[in-house]
Symmetry: C2
Subunit: 239 residues, 2 copies
Amino acid sequence: MAEDQKIKEKCSDCSVRELCFPMEITDADMTQLDVLVKTKIKVRKKEYLYRQGDEFNSIYAVRVGFLKTAITNSQGEEKILGFNMSGELLGLDGFANNKYESSVVALHDSEICVIEKNRIDEISQTFHPLQNCLQKILSTEIVRNNNLSISMSSMNAEQKISTFLLNLGQRFKMRNQSENHFILRMTRSEIGSYVDLTIETVSRTLRKLESMGVIKIHSKLIKIIDINKLKENLISCQT
Amino acid sequence: MAEDQKIKEKCSDCSVRELCFPMEITDADMTQLDVLVKTKIKVRKKEYLYRQGDEFNSIYAVRVGFLKTAITNSQGEEKILGFNMSGELLGLDGFANNKYESSVVALHDSEICVIEKNRIDEISQTFHPLQNCLQKILSTEIVRNNNLSISMSSMNAEQKISTFLLNLGQRFKMRNQSENHFILRMTRSEIGSYVDLTIETVSRTLRKLESMGVIKIHSKLIKIIDINKLKENLISCQT
DNA sequence: TATTGGATTTGATATAAATCAATAAATTTA
DNA sequence: TAAATTTATTGATTTATATCAAATCCAATA
């Protein structure tokens, strides 16, 4: 962990203004919020932002990059809980027991804003909207997980992979990147862990979608040829 | 929904002292917190506490009873997210979008403390520990969901049912009820929805555990004969 | 640039759980 | 209390996906 800290380089200032805080606040409020972020760090590919069990001191906001959040279970197997991209917050599970319950690793060089817990406490004492904001953020995470669990469990392999690709594309789109032409920064095995399929089934399902003319794959590069077909496919599969 | 409101009877005062708030606070603090709860309501078996989409005004604490939390998906199918018993908080998903994202139904006559959102906001402005408390509660819910998703996905039917029974027993134990002798207040179908198995598989698996001499079932009544065997079974199944 | 090791693909086979179907038990309602 | 309805059990069969195994691709590195 000490090494990790060394590697994370500090970089220029990081404004919360650039982040996707889910609340309606004025510019004046925003300026207040900027003080939340004091440091920005770089986390290079394969490096950890934090590890399961680390003491909880900060939450993080992804400025640029791509990361994964995972838990390691008692048998040492890794389960991917999600993939994280710019504007998203990390470390929210730390509030529970004052330690992180998951690990976050960069799958691509990333820049991360550090939001210290102390700073949050400090500021929210005088600036009340921040409390509500945090409540919203945490609750949204609960809802997201609930929705994920309802959907994934009832889907077959084709639906899982289709949903996964559509979701990624949508999130890229929101960041002004191509919705239907992107790089999968994770391995097939990581996809499998996330959607609960074996690596072989992930591979076969991608190939199947390709043979259907819905997508095109060149190793890590995905091109969604017919996004409507992909969505239809999703619906028509459902029983 | 109007009918539901009618049916919910107000009852005598309800103290937060009796609830399981996950924080270390003094008695003096506690007295402050008691003001959070103004009303207590009764929700009879099969009645809704709130419905998916209802406006979010309060969170709830179960005083006594047994309930289920569920989402209905776009195809009208119900997915059980959890079963709720005394001391547990409900409605935390409401903070996200100011409406409940799930429904809660009593599976047994229940008494529920109402904690109004306004009241929380009001009090947390002057009494700061409440903010941290709420952060902890919300984050704990995130962690719980994460852990659930990691475990359920990698388990076979026997492990799922064993885990389910052990978890229920443990929670009864914490409430000073029998750990190994209790009533399943939910249907087989609801169990199945919760652990992601069909009703037939739930039935067969319960029967299998009975034939192994681990449990004893008389319709809704469960008796855990050999709790260690049930736990072992859990471990030995794991690959 | 060749070598090495990990990641991916592809095929053959096994299997756990779903589905289909029919009966039985338990609850609700008349 | 009987009839009706819902819930649960049990058996036969199917199927989607896991598992096993081998080949190929790709990226790191020496």
